[in-house]
Protein backbone atom coordinates (compact mmCIF):
# COMPACT_ATOMS: atom_id res chain seq x y z
CA UNK A 1 0.00 0.00 0.00
CA UNK A 2 2.94 2.33 0.55
CA UNK A 3 3.05 2.37 -3.26
CA UNK A 4 0.56 5.21 -3.00
CA UNK A 5 3.57 7.45 -2.30
CA UNK A 6 4.88 6.60 -5.77
CA UNK A 7 1.77 8.24 -7.22
CA UNK A 8 1.62 11.90 -8.21
CA UNK A 9 0.23 14.65 -5.95
CA UNK A 10 -3.21 14.72 -7.57
CA UNK A 11 -3.79 10.94 -7.33
CA UNK A 12 -2.89 10.97 -3.62
CA UNK A 13 -5.15 13.96 -2.92
CA UNK A 14 -8.11 12.47 -4.78
CA UNK A 15 -7.62 9.07 -3.09
CA UNK A 16 -7.69 10.68 0.37
CA UNK A 17 -10.56 13.02 -0.51
CA UNK A 18 -12.62 10.07 -1.69
CA UNK A 19 -11.87 8.24 1.55
CA UNK A 20 -10.16 5.25 -0.10
CA UNK A 21 -7.13 5.76 2.14
CA UNK A 22 -6.98 7.72 5.40
CA UNK A 23 -4.63 10.64 5.96
CA UNK A 24 -3.27 8.75 8.98
CA UNK A 25 -2.29 5.85 6.72
CA UNK A 26 -0.53 8.20 4.30
CA UNK A 27 1.29 9.89 7.19
CA UNK A 28 2.48 6.53 8.51
CA UNK A 29 3.66 5.45 5.04
CA UNK A 30 5.54 8.70 4.67
CA UNK A 31 7.32 8.39 8.04
CA UNK A 32 8.23 4.78 7.25
CA UNK A 33 9.67 5.81 3.88
CA UNK A 34 11.72 8.62 5.36
CA UNK A 35 13.06 6.23 8.05
CA UNK A 36 13.92 3.63 5.40
CA UNK A 37 15.31 5.79 2.62
CA UNK A 38 16.70 8.98 4.08
CA UNK A 39 19.61 7.30 5.87
CA UNK A 40 21.35 7.24 2.49
CA UNK A 41 20.55 10.82 1.40
CA UNK A 42 20.05 13.15 4.40
CA UNK A 43 17.30 15.06 2.67
CA UNK A 44 15.59 15.86 5.97
CA UNK A 45 17.13 17.92 8.76
CA UNK A 46 14.13 17.57 11.07
CA UNK A 47 10.95 15.53 11.03
CA UNK A 48 7.98 16.23 13.28
CA UNK A 49 6.05 12.94 13.62
CA UNK A 50 3.77 14.09 16.44
CA UNK A 51 2.60 17.24 14.66
CA UNK A 52 2.20 15.21 11.44
CA UNK A 53 -0.01 12.55 13.06
CA UNK A 54 -2.12 15.19 14.78
CA UNK A 55 -2.68 16.91 11.44
CA UNK A 56 -3.59 13.59 9.77
CA UNK A 57 -6.08 12.63 12.50
CA UNK A 58 -7.70 16.05 12.21
CA UNK A 59 -8.13 15.60 8.43
CA UNK A 60 -9.69 12.16 8.91
CA UNK A 61 -12.07 13.49 11.56
CA UNK A 62 -13.14 16.34 9.31
CA UNK A 63 -13.77 13.93 6.47
CA UNK A 64 -15.71 11.71 8.87
CA UNK A 65 -17.96 14.66 9.67
CA UNK A 66 -18.73 15.03 5.97
CA UNK A 67 -16.50 18.03 5.27
CA UNK A 68 -14.96 18.33 1.80
CA UNK A 69 -11.20 18.28 2.17
CA UNK A 70 -8.86 20.74 0.43
CA UNK A 71 -7.04 20.23 -2.88
CA UNK A 72 -3.92 18.82 -1.19
CA UNK A 73 -5.70 16.62 1.36
CA UNK A 74 -3.33 13.99 2.71
CA UNK A 75 -0.48 14.92 0.37
CA UNK A 76 2.89 14.90 2.19
CA UNK A 77 4.86 18.02 1.31
CA UNK A 78 8.40 18.56 2.58
CA UNK A 79 9.45 22.11 3.47
CA UNK A 80 12.82 23.70 2.89
CA UNK A 81 14.31 24.62 6.25
CA UNK A 82 14.29 28.32 5.30
CA UNK A 83 10.48 28.39 5.80
CA UNK A 84 9.28 29.31 9.28
CA UNK A 85 7.23 26.62 10.99
CA UNK A 86 5.68 26.79 14.45
CA UNK A 87 5.79 23.02 14.80
CA UNK A 88 9.43 22.37 13.85
CA UNK A 89 12.89 23.95 13.99
CA UNK A 90 13.86 26.44 11.29
CA UNK A 91 17.60 26.89 10.82
CA UNK A 92 18.09 27.75 7.13
CA UNK A 93 20.90 25.18 7.28
CA UNK A 94 22.93 27.41 9.62
CA UNK A 95 24.45 26.97 13.07
CA UNK A 96 23.48 30.56 13.83
CA UNK A 97 19.82 29.43 14.05
CA UNK A 98 20.48 26.08 15.73
CA UNK A 99 17.53 25.16 17.95
CA UNK A 100 15.33 28.02 16.73
CA UNK A 101 11.60 27.28 16.56
CA UNK A 102 9.72 30.29 15.14
CA UNK A 103 6.62 31.64 16.90
CA UNK A 104 4.70 31.78 13.60
CA UNK A 105 4.17 29.95 10.30
CA UNK A 106 5.24 31.30 6.91
CA UNK A 107 2.21 32.23 4.78
CA UNK A 108 2.94 29.38 2.34
CA UNK A 109 3.02 26.92 5.25
CA UNK A 110 -0.34 28.20 6.53
CA UNK A 111 -1.81 27.91 3.01
CA UNK A 112 -0.56 24.32 2.56
CA UNK A 113 -2.02 23.39 5.94
CA UNK A 114 -5.36 24.96 5.07
CA UNK A 115 -5.39 22.97 1.79
CA UNK A 116 -4.97 19.73 3.77
CA UNK A 117 -1.30 19.02 3.01
CA UNK A 118 0.64 16.88 5.50
CA UNK A 119 3.92 18.44 6.63
CA UNK A 120 6.36 15.70 7.68
CA UNK A 121 9.50 17.78 8.07
CA UNK A 122 12.14 20.28 7.04
CA UNK A 123 14.68 19.69 4.32
CA UNK A 124 18.42 20.10 4.01
CA UNK A 125 19.80 23.13 2.19
CA UNK A 126 22.91 25.18 1.63
CA UNK A 127 23.35 27.56 4.55
CA UNK A 128 21.03 30.57 3.99
CA UNK A 129 20.39 29.17 0.49
CA UNK A 130 23.93 30.10 -0.56
CA UNK A 131 25.19 27.32 -2.75
CA UNK A 132 24.53 25.13 -5.76
CA UNK A 133 25.36 21.71 -4.32
CA UNK A 134 23.92 21.49 -0.78
CA UNK A 135 27.50 21.04 0.45
CA UNK A 136 27.31 24.33 2.37
CA UNK A 137 24.77 22.95 4.86
CA UNK A 138 26.05 23.32 8.43
CA UNK A 139 24.38 19.96 9.16
CA UNK A 140 26.17 17.90 6.51
CA UNK A 141 25.49 17.52 2.79
CA UNK A 142 22.46 15.94 1.15
CA UNK A 143 23.13 13.34 -1.55
CA UNK A 144 21.57 12.73 -4.94
CA UNK A 145 19.14 9.77 -4.86
CA UNK A 146 20.20 8.86 -8.42
CA UNK A 147 23.84 8.45 -7.35
CA UNK A 148 24.77 9.05 -3.73
CA UNK A 149 28.34 10.00 -4.69
CA UNK A 150 26.93 13.07 -6.42
CA UNK A 151 25.39 16.31 -5.22
CA UNK A 152 21.61 16.81 -5.54
CA UNK A 153 22.07 20.45 -6.53
CA UNK A 154 21.26 23.40 -4.37
CA UNK A 155 20.31 25.26 -2.52
CA UNK A 156 16.98 23.37 -2.21
CA UNK A 157 18.83 20.02 -2.45
CA UNK A 158 16.92 18.29 0.34
CA UNK A 159 13.53 19.21 -1.11
CA UNK A 160 14.53 17.87 -4.53
CA UNK A 161 16.01 14.67 -3.06
CA UNK A 162 12.86 14.05 -1.01
CA UNK A 163 10.78 14.14 -4.20
CA UNK A 164 13.29 12.20 -6.35
CA UNK A 165 13.32 9.33 -3.81
CA UNK A 166 9.51 9.60 -3.47
CA UNK A 167 9.68 10.22 0.28
CA UNK A 168 7.17 12.97 -0.52
CA UNK A 169 5.51 13.60 -3.93
CA UNK A 170 6.16 17.34 -3.57
CA UNK A 171 8.16 19.86 -1.58
CA UNK A 172 8.62 23.60 -1.32
CA UNK A 173 11.92 25.25 -2.11
CA UNK A 174 13.09 28.81 -2.56
CA UNK A 175 14.88 30.16 -5.62
CA UNK A 176 17.15 33.21 -5.60
CA UNK A 177 19.36 32.38 -8.58
CA UNK A 178 18.21 28.87 -9.49
CA UNK A 179 17.86 27.12 -6.13
CA UNK A 180 14.61 25.35 -7.11
CA UNK A 181 15.23 24.73 -10.82
CA UNK A 182 18.84 23.49 -10.68
CA UNK A 183 18.27 20.80 -8.01
CA UNK A 184 15.05 19.79 -9.81
CA UNK A 185 17.05 19.33 -13.03
CA UNK A 186 19.77 17.31 -11.30
CA UNK A 187 17.28 14.98 -9.56
CA UNK A 188 14.76 14.35 -12.36
CA UNK A 189 11.96 16.36 -10.73
CA UNK A 190 9.83 19.34 -11.78
CA UNK A 191 10.82 22.67 -10.21
CA UNK A 192 9.02 25.99 -10.55
CA UNK A 193 10.29 29.49 -9.85
CA UNK A 194 7.18 31.67 -10.07
CA UNK A 195 7.16 35.31 -11.21
CA UNK A 196 8.72 37.66 -8.66
CA UNK A 197 5.83 38.69 -6.39
CA UNK A 198 3.60 35.73 -7.25
CA UNK A 199 4.03 33.95 -3.88
CA UNK A 200 4.19 35.58 -0.45
CA UNK A 201 7.59 35.44 1.22
CA UNK A 202 6.30 36.20 4.70
CA UNK A 203 8.17 33.75 6.92
CA UNK A 204 10.93 32.89 4.41
CA UNK A 205 14.40 33.47 5.84
CA UNK A 206 15.56 36.26 3.50
CA UNK A 207 18.65 35.93 1.31
CA UNK A 208 18.34 38.52 -1.50
CA UNK A 209 15.02 40.33 -1.38
CA UNK A 210 14.87 41.53 -5.00
CA UNK A 211 15.29 37.92 -6.17
CA UNK A 212 13.92 35.43 -3.60
CA UNK A 213 10.79 33.52 -4.59
CA UNK A 214 9.17 30.40 -3.11
CA UNK A 215 7.97 27.61 -5.41
CA UNK A 216 7.16 23.90 -5.67
CA UNK A 217 9.25 20.87 -6.58
CA UNK A 218 7.09 17.87 -7.53
CA UNK A 219 7.23 14.45 -9.15
CA UNK A 220 5.10 15.63 -12.08
CA UNK A 221 4.01 18.84 -13.79
CA UNK A 222 0.36 18.74 -12.68
CA UNK A 223 1.39 18.15 -9.08
CA UNK A 224 3.64 21.21 -9.17
CA UNK A 225 0.77 23.19 -10.71
CA UNK A 226 -1.67 22.22 -7.99
CA UNK A 227 0.79 23.17 -5.24
CA UNK A 228 1.51 26.53 -6.91
CA UNK A 229 -2.23 27.24 -7.27
CA UNK A 230 -2.53 26.76 -3.49
CA UNK A 231 0.40 28.94 -2.41
CA UNK A 232 0.12 31.75 -5.01
CA UNK A 233 -1.68 35.03 -4.44
CA UNK A 234 -1.42 38.33 -2.65
CA UNK A 235 -0.71 38.36 1.08
CA UNK A 236 -1.16 41.54 3.14
CA UNK A 237 1.89 40.46 5.17
CA UNK A 238 4.19 40.79 2.13
CA UNK A 239 3.94 44.11 0.29
CA UNK A 240 5.98 42.68 -2.62
CA UNK A 241 3.40 39.94 -3.27
CA UNK A 242 1.39 41.19 -6.22
CA UNK A 243 -2.31 41.82 -6.07
CA UNK A 244 -3.08 40.24 -9.45
CA UNK A 245 -5.52 37.42 -10.24
CA UNK A 246 -4.04 34.04 -9.25
CA UNK A 247 -3.06 31.88 -12.22
CA UNK A 248 -4.92 28.63 -12.86
CA UNK A 249 -1.84 26.51 -13.44
CA UNK A 250 -3.40 23.07 -13.08
CA UNK A 251 -6.03 23.83 -15.72
CA UNK A 252 -3.30 25.30 -17.95
CA UNK A 253 -1.62 21.88 -18.15
CA UNK A 254 -4.42 20.86 -20.54
CA UNK A 255 -3.93 23.82 -22.90
CA UNK A 256 -2.86 23.19 -26.48
CA UNK A 257 0.64 24.31 -27.40
CA UNK A 258 0.13 24.10 -31.18
CA UNK A 259 1.42 27.25 -32.91
CA UNK A 260 3.03 28.63 -29.76
CA UNK A 261 6.26 30.42 -30.61
CA UNK A 262 9.13 29.18 -28.46
CA UNK A 263 12.53 30.90 -28.57
CA UNK A 264 15.88 29.13 -28.41
CA UNK A 265 18.59 31.55 -27.19
CA UNK A 266 21.94 30.88 -28.86
CA UNK A 267 23.82 32.18 -25.79
CA UNK A 268 22.70 29.21 -23.66
CA UNK A 269 24.24 26.65 -26.00
CA UNK A 270 27.84 27.86 -26.01
CA UNK A 271 31.06 27.00 -24.25
CA UNK A 272 30.72 25.13 -20.94
CA UNK A 273 27.55 23.26 -21.89
CA UNK A 274 27.99 19.51 -21.40
CA UNK A 275 27.51 17.59 -24.67
CA UNK A 276 25.07 15.07 -23.16
CA UNK A 277 23.00 17.86 -21.63
CA UNK A 278 22.91 19.67 -24.96
CA UNK A 279 21.77 16.52 -26.79
CA UNK A 280 18.93 15.97 -24.27
CA UNK A 281 17.77 19.57 -24.39
CA UNK A 282 17.78 19.51 -28.20
CA UNK A 283 15.60 16.37 -28.06
CA UNK A 284 13.18 18.20 -25.77
CA UNK A 285 13.05 21.09 -28.25
CA UNK A 286 12.32 18.58 -31.04
CA UNK A 287 9.52 17.14 -28.88
CA UNK A 288 7.95 20.60 -28.56
CA UNK A 289 8.21 20.99 -32.31
CA UNK A 290 6.37 17.67 -32.77
CA UNK A 291 3.63 19.08 -30.49
CA UNK A 292 3.20 21.87 -33.01
CA UNK A 293 5.32 24.64 -31.43
CA UNK A 294 7.19 27.00 -33.74
CA UNK A 295 10.83 27.03 -32.73
CA UNK A 296 12.41 30.46 -33.21
CA UNK A 297 16.11 31.30 -32.82
CA UNK A 298 16.52 34.33 -30.51
CA UNK A 299 19.31 36.33 -28.89
CA UNK A 300 19.80 37.35 -25.26
CA UNK A 301 23.11 39.18 -25.70
CA UNK A 302 23.79 40.11 -22.05
CA UNK A 303 23.53 36.52 -20.79
CA UNK A 304 27.30 36.26 -20.36
CA UNK A 305 27.19 38.94 -17.65
CA UNK A 306 24.60 37.13 -15.53
CA UNK A 307 27.01 35.50 -13.09
CA UNK A 308 28.94 38.72 -12.41
CA UNK A 309 25.73 40.75 -12.08
CA UNK A 310 24.09 38.25 -9.78
CA UNK A 311 27.04 37.86 -7.42
CA UNK A 312 27.15 41.63 -6.89
CA UNK A 313 23.40 42.17 -6.43
CA UNK A 314 22.65 39.04 -4.39
CA UNK A 315 25.61 39.40 -2.02
CA UNK A 316 24.87 43.10 -1.46
CA UNK A 317 21.31 42.27 -0.44
CA UNK A 318 22.46 39.30 1.64
CA UNK A 319 24.96 41.42 3.58
CA UNK A 320 22.06 43.61 4.64
CA UNK A 321 19.53 40.80 5.30
CA UNK A 322 21.97 38.79 7.38
CA UNK A 323 22.79 41.74 9.67
CA UNK A 324 19.88 40.59 11.85
CA UNK A 325 21.77 37.46 12.99
CA UNK A 326 23.66 38.93 15.92
CA UNK A 327 22.99 36.69 18.92
CA UNK A 328 20.54 39.07 20.59
CA UNK A 329 16.99 37.95 19.74
CA UNK A 330 17.33 34.26 18.84
CA UNK A 331 19.90 31.58 18.14
CA UNK A 332 23.14 30.83 19.98
CA UNK A 333 25.24 33.68 21.37
CA UNK A 334 28.98 33.97 21.91
CA UNK A 335 29.20 35.68 25.30
CA UNK A 336 31.59 38.61 25.39
CA UNK A 337 32.31 41.52 27.72
CA UNK A 338 31.18 44.16 25.24
CA UNK A 339 28.40 44.36 22.66
CA UNK A 340 30.63 44.76 19.62
CA UNK A 341 32.58 41.59 20.36
CA UNK A 342 29.33 39.78 21.15
CA UNK A 343 28.10 40.55 17.62
CA UNK A 344 31.42 39.79 15.95
CA UNK A 345 32.11 36.52 17.77
CA UNK A 346 28.52 35.25 17.46
CA UNK A 347 28.69 35.81 13.71
CA UNK A 348 32.18 34.33 13.40
CA UNK A 349 31.10 31.14 15.17
CA UNK A 350 27.61 30.93 13.66
CA UNK A 351 28.26 31.47 9.94
CA UNK A 352 30.02 29.04 7.61
CA UNK A 353 32.76 29.92 5.14
CA UNK A 354 30.56 30.61 2.08
CA UNK A 355 28.20 32.84 4.06
CA UNK A 356 31.15 34.85 5.39
CA UNK A 357 32.53 35.17 1.87
CA UNK A 358 29.23 36.53 0.59
CA UNK A 359 28.71 38.91 3.52
CA UNK A 360 32.20 40.31 2.92
CA UNK A 361 31.72 40.62 -0.84
CA UNK A 362 28.29 42.23 -0.40
CA UNK A 363 29.61 44.68 2.18
CA UNK A 364 32.54 45.49 -0.10
CA UNK A 365 30.40 46.28 -3.17
CA UNK A 366 28.18 48.56 -1.10
CA UNK A 367 31.02 50.32 0.72
CA UNK A 368 32.00 53.96 0.21
CA UNK A 369 34.05 54.43 -2.94
CA UNK A 370 32.98 51.15 -4.55
CA UNK A 371 29.17 51.43 -4.71
CA UNK A 372 28.99 53.04 -8.16
CA UNK A 373 31.65 50.85 -9.73
CA UNK A 374 30.10 47.58 -8.55
CA UNK A 375 26.54 47.74 -7.20
CA UNK A 376 25.11 50.56 -9.33
CA UNK A 377 26.88 49.16 -12.39
CA UNK A 378 25.46 45.68 -11.79
CA UNK A 379 21.92 47.04 -11.44
CA UNK A 380 22.33 48.80 -14.81
CA UNK A 381 23.55 45.62 -16.51
CA UNK A 382 20.59 43.86 -14.88
CA UNK A 383 18.28 46.39 -16.55
CA UNK A 384 19.88 45.53 -19.91
CA UNK A 385 19.28 41.82 -19.27
CA UNK A 386 15.61 42.53 -18.51
CA UNK A 387 15.45 44.54 -21.76
CA UNK A 388 16.87 41.54 -23.68
CA UNK A 389 13.96 39.46 -22.39
CA UNK A 390 11.41 42.17 -23.27
CA UNK A 391 12.66 42.17 -26.84
CA UNK A 392 12.63 38.38 -27.05
CA UNK A 393 9.09 38.22 -25.69
CA UNK A 394 7.89 40.52 -28.45
CA UNK A 395 8.65 37.61 -30.80
CA UNK A 396 7.96 34.47 -28.72
CA UNK A 397 5.63 33.32 -25.93
CA UNK A 398 8.30 31.36 -24.07
CA UNK A 399 11.99 30.48 -24.12
CA UNK A 400 13.48 26.99 -23.92
CA UNK A 401 17.07 26.28 -22.80
CA UNK A 402 19.08 24.06 -20.43
CA UNK A 403 18.51 24.42 -16.66
CA UNK A 404 22.04 23.43 -15.65
CA UNK A 405 25.09 23.28 -17.93
CA UNK A 406 26.08 19.88 -16.50
CA UNK A 407 24.42 16.89 -14.86
CA UNK A 408 24.94 16.34 -11.10
CA UNK A 409 28.66 16.54 -10.31
CA UNK A 410 30.53 14.44 -7.72
CA UNK A 411 30.54 15.60 -4.08
CA UNK A 412 33.62 17.72 -3.39
CA UNK A 413 34.38 18.53 -7.03
CA UNK A 414 33.76 22.29 -6.74
CA UNK A 415 33.64 22.65 -2.97
CA UNK A 416 36.93 24.58 -2.76
CA UNK A 417 36.49 26.76 -5.83
CA UNK A 418 33.72 29.32 -5.23
CA UNK A 419 33.93 30.83 -8.72
CA UNK A 420 33.57 27.43 -10.44
CA UNK A 421 30.54 26.77 -8.24
CA UNK A 422 29.01 30.17 -9.15
CA UNK A 423 29.44 29.44 -12.88
CA UNK A 424 27.21 26.37 -12.54
CA UNK A 425 24.25 28.80 -12.06
CA UNK A 426 24.72 30.47 -15.44
CA UNK A 427 21.50 29.17 -17.06
CA UNK A 428 19.14 29.97 -14.17
CA UNK A 429 20.39 33.43 -13.14
CA UNK A 430 19.00 35.54 -16.01
CA UNK A 431 15.32 34.72 -15.35
CA UNK A 432 15.88 35.43 -11.65
CA UNK A 433 17.50 38.80 -12.34
CA UNK A 434 14.58 39.77 -14.61
CA UNK A 435 11.92 38.50 -12.14
CA UNK A 436 10.46 36.09 -14.71
CA UNK A 437 8.76 32.73 -14.11
CA UNK A 438 10.65 29.59 -15.13
CA UNK A 439 10.15 25.83 -14.86
CA UNK A 440 12.63 22.97 -15.05
CA UNK A 441 11.16 19.74 -16.43
CA UNK A 442 12.98 16.41 -16.79
CA UNK A 443 14.02 15.43 -20.32
CA UNK A 444 16.09 12.48 -21.54
CA UNK A 445 18.73 11.32 -19.01
CA UNK A 446 22.43 11.17 -19.96
CA UNK A 447 23.76 7.87 -21.38
CA UNK A 448 25.04 7.07 -17.86
CA UNK A 449 21.56 7.56 -16.41
CA UNK A 450 21.85 10.96 -14.74
CA UNK A 451 18.79 13.23 -14.95
CA UNK A 452 18.77 16.30 -17.21
CA UNK A 453 16.34 19.21 -16.99
CA UNK A 454 15.04 21.50 -19.71
CA UNK A 455 14.16 25.04 -18.64
CA UNK A 456 11.17 27.02 -19.87
CA UNK A 457 11.17 30.78 -19.19
CA UNK A 458 8.00 32.84 -19.60
CA UNK A 459 6.66 36.37 -19.55
CA UNK A 460 5.97 37.92 -16.14
CA UNK A 461 2.75 36.50 -14.63
CA UNK A 462 2.36 34.01 -17.47
CA UNK A 463 2.88 30.76 -15.57
CA UNK A 464 -0.05 29.14 -17.47
CA UNK A 465 1.88 29.14 -20.78
CA UNK A 466 4.85 27.55 -19.02
CA UNK A 467 2.69 24.81 -17.52
CA UNK A 468 1.13 24.06 -20.91
CA UNK A 469 4.61 23.67 -22.43
CA UNK A 470 5.92 21.73 -19.43
CA UNK A 471 3.01 19.28 -19.72
CA UNK A 472 3.84 18.91 -23.43
CA UNK A 473 7.47 18.04 -22.56
CA UNK A 474 6.26 15.57 -19.99
CA UNK A 475 4.27 13.68 -22.62
CA UNK A 476 7.58 12.83 -24.32
CA UNK A 477 9.58 12.31 -21.12
CA UNK A 478 7.33 10.84 -18.42
CA UNK A 479 8.33 11.13 -14.71
CA UNK A 480 10.57 8.48 -13.23
CA UNK A 481 11.66 7.90 -9.63
CA UNK A 482 15.22 7.49 -8.39
CA UNK A 483 14.17 4.66 -6.09
CA UNK A 484 12.86 1.55 -7.84
Amino acid sequence: MSDLLDEPVITIAETVRAGHVSAVDVANMCLARIAERDKAFHAFLWTSPDALMEQARDLDERRGRGETLGPLAGVPIALKDALCTKHAPTTAGSKILEGYVPPYDATVVARLRAAGALLPGKTNMDEFAMGSSNENSAYGPCKNPWDSNRIPGGSSGGSAASVAARMTPAALGSDTGGSIRQPAALTGTVGVKPTYGRVSRYGLVAFASSLDQIGPIASDVRGAARVLDVIAGHDPKDATSRDVPAPKCEAACELKVRDMRVGVPAEYFGEGLDKDVEASVREAIAALEREGCQIVPIQLPHTKYAVATYYVVATAEASSNLARFDGVRYGPRAEAGDLKSLYGKTREQGFGREVKRRILLGTFVLSAGYYDAYYAKAQKVRALMARDFDEAFSMVEAIVCPTSPTPAFPLGEKANDPLAMYLSDVCTLPASLAGLPAISVPCKPTPSGLPVGVQLIGRANDEPTLFALAAACERSFPPSAAWK
Binding site: Y311, R333, K380, V381
Partner: protein, 95 residues
Protein backbone atom coordinates in the same frame (compact mmCIF):
# COMPACT_ATOMS: atom_id res chain seq x y z
CA UNK B 1 41.16 46.42 -8.00
CA UNK B 2 43.01 43.96 -5.79
CA UNK B 3 41.54 42.69 -2.54
CA UNK B 4 44.16 42.78 0.19
CA UNK B 5 44.22 41.58 3.80
CA UNK B 6 43.57 45.18 4.85
CA UNK B 7 40.46 45.38 2.64
CA UNK B 8 39.11 42.17 4.18
CA UNK B 9 39.74 43.38 7.73
CA UNK B 10 38.09 46.74 6.99
CA UNK B 11 35.03 45.17 5.37
CA UNK B 12 34.73 42.59 8.17
CA UNK B 13 34.67 45.45 10.66
CA UNK B 14 31.85 47.11 8.70
CA UNK B 15 29.94 43.80 8.69
CA UNK B 16 30.41 43.18 12.45
CA UNK B 17 32.13 39.92 11.62
CA UNK B 18 35.16 38.76 13.63
CA UNK B 19 37.55 36.63 11.62
CA UNK B 20 40.01 34.03 12.71
CA UNK B 21 43.52 35.20 11.82
CA UNK B 22 44.02 31.96 9.88
CA UNK B 23 41.11 32.56 7.50
CA UNK B 24 41.91 36.15 6.47
CA UNK B 25 44.40 35.27 3.74
CA UNK B 26 42.18 32.56 2.23
CA UNK B 27 39.20 34.94 2.18
CA UNK B 28 41.31 37.67 0.58
CA UNK B 29 42.39 35.23 -2.13
CA UNK B 30 38.81 34.05 -2.80
CA UNK B 31 37.40 37.57 -2.89
CA UNK B 32 40.20 38.80 -5.08
CA UNK B 33 39.35 36.14 -7.70
CA UNK B 34 35.63 36.95 -7.52
CA UNK B 35 36.16 40.71 -7.76
CA UNK B 36 38.48 40.21 -10.76
CA UNK B 37 35.73 38.19 -12.44
CA UNK B 38 33.05 40.77 -11.62
CA UNK B 39 35.11 43.55 -13.18
CA UNK B 40 34.07 42.36 -16.65
CA UNK B 41 30.89 44.39 -16.01
CA UNK B 42 33.03 47.48 -16.61
CA UNK B 43 33.11 46.56 -20.33
CA UNK B 44 29.32 46.89 -20.72
CA UNK B 45 28.08 50.18 -22.13
CA UNK B 46 25.43 51.35 -19.65
CA UNK B 47 25.30 54.98 -20.68
CA UNK B 48 21.80 56.34 -20.15
CA UNK B 49 20.58 53.10 -18.54
CA UNK B 50 18.60 53.43 -15.31
CA UNK B 51 19.48 50.87 -12.61
CA UNK B 52 17.01 47.96 -12.44
CA UNK B 53 14.26 48.08 -9.84
CA UNK B 54 10.99 46.27 -9.32
CA UNK B 55 8.10 48.57 -10.09
CA UNK B 56 6.83 50.30 -6.95
CA UNK B 57 3.44 50.60 -8.66
CA UNK B 58 3.02 46.88 -8.17
CA UNK B 59 3.52 47.11 -4.41
CA UNK B 60 0.29 46.80 -2.47
CA UNK B 61 0.38 48.26 1.02
CA UNK B 62 -2.06 47.05 3.64
CA UNK B 63 -4.29 49.34 5.66
CA UNK B 64 -2.51 51.13 8.46
CA UNK B 65 -4.64 49.47 11.11
CA UNK B 66 -3.82 48.01 14.53
CA UNK B 67 -3.44 44.22 14.40
CA UNK B 68 -2.46 41.68 17.00
CA UNK B 69 1.16 40.60 16.81
CA UNK B 70 3.44 38.56 19.02
CA UNK B 71 3.11 39.05 22.76
CA UNK B 72 6.18 40.23 24.64
CA UNK B 73 6.60 36.74 26.08
CA UNK B 74 6.51 35.14 22.62
CA UNK B 75 8.97 37.66 21.23
CA UNK B 76 11.43 37.13 24.08
CA UNK B 77 11.03 33.35 24.30
CA UNK B 78 13.91 32.49 21.94
CA UNK B 79 16.39 35.12 23.14
CA UNK B 80 19.70 33.78 24.49
CA UNK B 81 19.27 36.22 27.39
CA UNK B 82 16.29 38.36 28.28
CA UNK B 83 14.85 40.31 31.17
CA UNK B 84 11.14 40.84 31.76
CA UNK B 85 11.26 44.00 29.68
CA UNK B 86 13.46 43.06 26.77
CA UNK B 87 16.51 41.48 25.20
CA UNK B 88 19.56 41.54 27.48
CA UNK B 89 22.99 42.57 26.17
CA UNK B 90 26.21 43.74 27.86
CA UNK B 91 26.20 47.36 29.01
CA UNK B 92 27.18 49.59 26.09
CA UNK B 93 26.59 53.09 27.42
CA UNK B 94 29.13 54.18 29.99
CA UNK B 95 28.66 57.39 31.96
Amino acid sequence: MSVSRETILHVAELASLSLDEGEVDALAKDLHAIVQYVEQLGAVNTEGVEPYSHSAAETTLRKDAVMTGLTREEALAKAPRATEEGFAVPRFVHE
